[in-house]
């Protein structure tokens, strides 16, 4: 039974071991072995607890005291760092939170009966698999990446031991979050992810990194404050301290508005929804593996994980409207802002915020269909987005730029990387790949729940999503001259990591009906205490599979096509002024000019600053109004 703790303790120990390793080859062995073991362990645990599930109560006081001790130590650490950098707001937030949680812990928590500290159901298994597989693969990828990183950036001190320590502690904390049922435990792991992300973002210790890391810290501490307050309210007023009791309570009609709003705020800040989205954008200064880890499979997924867990509770009250509105607005505006960006990582950041917005909106609706769509979105997004981050990282190291404009003709420059990116991008928005299936289900769920405004937001948002992904795709497939090829320097680790990601992106599309039947629906049936079946009908799944098959035949078709077809190759049309080939043309002065084809960014129309101001104001207003409505309803 306690074997489940392996998931939490093993990465932690690996991390500690890596903290003391400065030798590259030893580190490589440790990370590869640990990643392999973690993947195997998460698969074995999913198989082991697939049927039975698990409800485990440890009843060990020392664990709680240990957590308190660690929390206090971390609080002291945070305060010390903040004082060093002369930032005072985080200190205040840390003190308030620590006080609340310790006060509650010592004064009252003993009187609340805990039935199960750890609960494993099918949804936890999904999250375990995502964290275990994707997270471990990212750690493997990081080996070579960080070596190159310090090779390119001599100004940054090599503290890779700390970096890998943080990556593995992060995984451990993430496993902690998805396993815990006891809210105090969850809070403990929640705070650890906050601190780890703070340290990871500030890894380079450059001014901008420090500034952004504090931004992330403040926003996440604010969310943590919401979490702490929710725990206190639930403990005192409702007398529960367990996550899995919430849906049943909500269905029995007990007023849960205030804790729901507070937990929603915690979830929204963690999943970088407006007005908290700033931290995720700032986090892009960190080395790419940490971005990949934070923004695809872990950190932000913890936020939406919590929201989906409490989603059945949200469906019954105005907290649901809060979550839905914030998610919807974020989805739409973030996808518009992504249009204006040419920095690959920035586009990925906005797309992450935007997709999380969709998941959050699904949680906010809180119906059977919408949660179904939300969980599927989590899975597809984790895989495809992680693949995208890793590809962008590799491209950056190969060409020295991660600007999408520089990826013009990547299919010639770095064919393998272009292929990875095409798979990733297709996975992000294109029929018949994953994200689109879930978007489809989400659309259906939104209509069925009569939330017409969210439907409108979704249709406009998905149109702009289509725009920024396709123009990126267009850049990749532009065909240049053969001699512009760049030698790719892919190592074994990178191949394994990205290859597995690409494979998963495609495979998951084929097996999603099975995921639906065996993971999501059983979970939802217990949550809603009734059986509702599949959201997408069998006939449509068949057609989707047919489409997928057709799309997968494309590379094969291409080879056949190229061998059969004999085109006469001519220069491209430039009004007849080509200079012998497609690269140069004669300008009005009779001189050769390089042809440069740029995508449209339309900054004038989708101005980032203006849109984010609009978004921050509206979402803040929604949160404040509903928060006070909740307070007013109680008082």
């Amino acid at each position: 039974m306690e074997s489940i703790l392996f998931l939490i303790i093993f990465p932690l120990l690996t991390g500690v071991a890596l903290l003391f390793v400065r030798n590259d080859s030893i580190r490589r062995i440790i990370v590869r072995t640990a990643a392999f073991l973690l993947i195997i362990a998460s698969i074995l645990i999913s198989v082991r607890y697939f049927d039975s599930g698990l409800e485990l109560s440890l009843h060990k006081e020392w664990i709680n005291y240990g957590m308190v001790a660690i929390e206090l130590a971390l609080a002291v650490l945070l305060i010390a760092i903040s004082i060093k950098h002369k930032k005072y707001l985080p200190i205040l937030l840390v003190i308030i939170q620590t006080t609340i949680i310790n006060w509650y812990e010592f004064s009252y928590s003993h009187e609340v009966e805990i039935h199960a500290d750890i609960v494993i159901d099918r949804f936890s298994l999904i999250m375990i698999l995502i964290t275990g597989v994707i997270g471990s693969l990212i750690c493997v990828y990081a080996l070579k990446y960080m070596e190159d990183y310090h090779h390119h950036h001599h100004e940054i001190k090599d503290r890779r031991n700390l970096f890998f320590f943080l990556l593995f502690v992060f995984l451990s904390a993430m496993f902690g979050i998805v396993l815990s049922n006891n809210l105090l435990w969850m809070y403990f792991f929640w705070e650890i992810t906050t601190i780890c992300s703070f340290l990871l973002i500030g890894y380079t210790r450059q001014d901008i990194a420090v500034k952004n890391s504090f931004k992330a810290l403040i926003m996440n501490l604010f969310g943590g404050f919401g979490f702490a307050a929710a725990i206190m309210y639930l403990g005192y007023v409702v007398e529960i301290q367990e996550l899995n009791k919430l849906p049943a309570l909500a269905q029995s009609g007990i007023e849960l508005l205030i804790p729901a709003v507070l937990l929603a705020i915690a979830g929204l800040s963690k999943s970088a929804q407006m007005p908290f989205s700033g931290w995720l954008l700032g986090a892009m200064v960190a080395p790419t593996p940490s971005s990949a880890l934070l923004h695809s499979s872990t950190m932000v997924k913890a936020g939406v994980y919590l929201l989906i867990r409490i989603a059945p509770t949200l469906g019954y009250n105005v907290a649901g409207i809060l979550v839905m509105m914030v998610g919807g607005i974020t989805f739409f505006l973030a996808s518009l802002m992504a249009i204006t960006k040419s920095d690959g990582k920035k586009v990925l950041a906005y797309s992450t915020i935007s997709n999380l917005g969709l998941i959050v909106a699904c949680a906010g609706i809180g119906s059977y269909e919408s949660i179904w769509a939300g969980i599927l979105l989590i899975i597809f997004h984790a895989i495809a987005k992680s693949l995208m981050f890793l590809s962008v990282g590799t491209v950056e190291h190969s060409m020295g730029s991660r600007d999408i404009e520089d990826m013009h003709g990547l299919i010639i420059k770095l064919p393998a990387m272009a292929l990875m990116m095409v798979i990733g991008i297709a996975g992000m928005f294109l029929a018949p790949f994953g994200m689109l299936i879930s978007k489809w289900a989400a659309l259906k769920a939104f209509i069925d729940s009569d939330n017409i405004l969210i439907v409108l937001i979704l249709v406009f948002g998905s149109a702009s999503t289509l725009f920024y992904w396709t123009k990126w795709l267009g850049k990749l497939v532009a065909v240049l001259n053969k001699y512009e090829r760049i030698p790719a320097k892919l190592t074994f680790d990178e191949w394994v990591s990205m290859g597995t990601h690409a494979l998963l992106t495609v495979v998951v599309c084929f097996i999603f009906p099975m995921i639906g039947n065996h993971f999501i629906e059983p979970y939802l049936n217990t949550q809603f205490a009734q059986h509702l079946g599949s959201v997408i009908s069998d006939g449509n799944i068949k057609i989707m599979s047919l489409m997928l098959g057709m799309v997968l035949l494309i590379p094969l078709g291409l080879i056949v096509f190229v061998t059969l077809k004999e085109d006469r190759i001519v220069t491209s049309y430039m009004g007849g002024v080509n200079r012998g080939d497609n690269r140069y043309f004669t300008d009005s002065k009779g001189q050769a000019k390089h042809l440069y084809l740029s995508n449209w960014y339309m900054e004038k129309y989708f101005n980032e600053a203006r849109l984010s101001t609009i978004g921050n104001i509206t979402t803040s207003a929604v949160i404040i109004v509903i928060f006070f409505m909740a307070l007013g309803g109680v008082l």
Binding site: I412, I559, V562, T563, T571, Y573, G576, V577, T586
Partner: protein, 162 residues
């Protein structure tokens, strides 16, 4: 049955013309003459065109352009030189920068004289061009058939893709 005759698409290139012939070329598209009756479309894109219609003479500046446009057209294709400047350089033939008629650069199939060439004669020229086009197509098809018989399949490699 060939459909080339029924849908000759044109690209019109203006070399060093006084614009007299250009106006007459455009006049062919107006309701009075309406060459679209015969399926003629002014495409403005060499890659879509069958007939290259050139007005004005060729000079040092535009000789490459003429050559490239001609080269970018798919076979079968014909060239029609419209107006006296395009056929021989006309009154500009002696200018220091003028090279002469279009046939100095690319092979011309039909010469349409006149200064400016009248729409009727331009249409007449195009009709002649269509006949030559048809001949060229027949020759091309024959050649292609011969080539197919003789072709030896070469090695296939992925690097041919780009």
């Amino acid at each position: 049955m060939s459909f080339l005759k029924k849908s000759p698409w044109i690209i019109h290139y203006d070399g060093t013309s006084c614009n007299g012939c250009d106006i007459e070329v455009l006049a062919c598209l107006t309701p009075l003459y309406d060459v679209e009756r015969f399926g003629v479309v002014n495409t403005g894109n060499p890659k879509h065109a069958d007939i290259l219609l050139i007005t004005g003479s060729v000079n040092e500046q535009n000789k490459d352009v003429v050559w490239q446009i001609f080269n970018q057209m798919p076979n079968p294709k014909v060239v029609v030189a419209v107006g006296i400047c395009a056929t021989s350089g006309g009154i500009f033939a002696e200018c220091y920068n003028v090279m002469g008629g279009v046939d100095k650069i690319i092979p011309v199939d039909v010469y349409v004289p006149g200064c400016a060439a009248r729409p009727e004669s331009i249409i007449d020229g195009v009709v002649k061009a269509v006949e030559i086009l048809e001949e060229k197509r027949a020759a091309m098809t024959k050649k292609r058939k011969m080539a197919k018989v003789r072709r030896v399949s070469g090695p296939v490699s992925l690097s041919n893709m780009f």
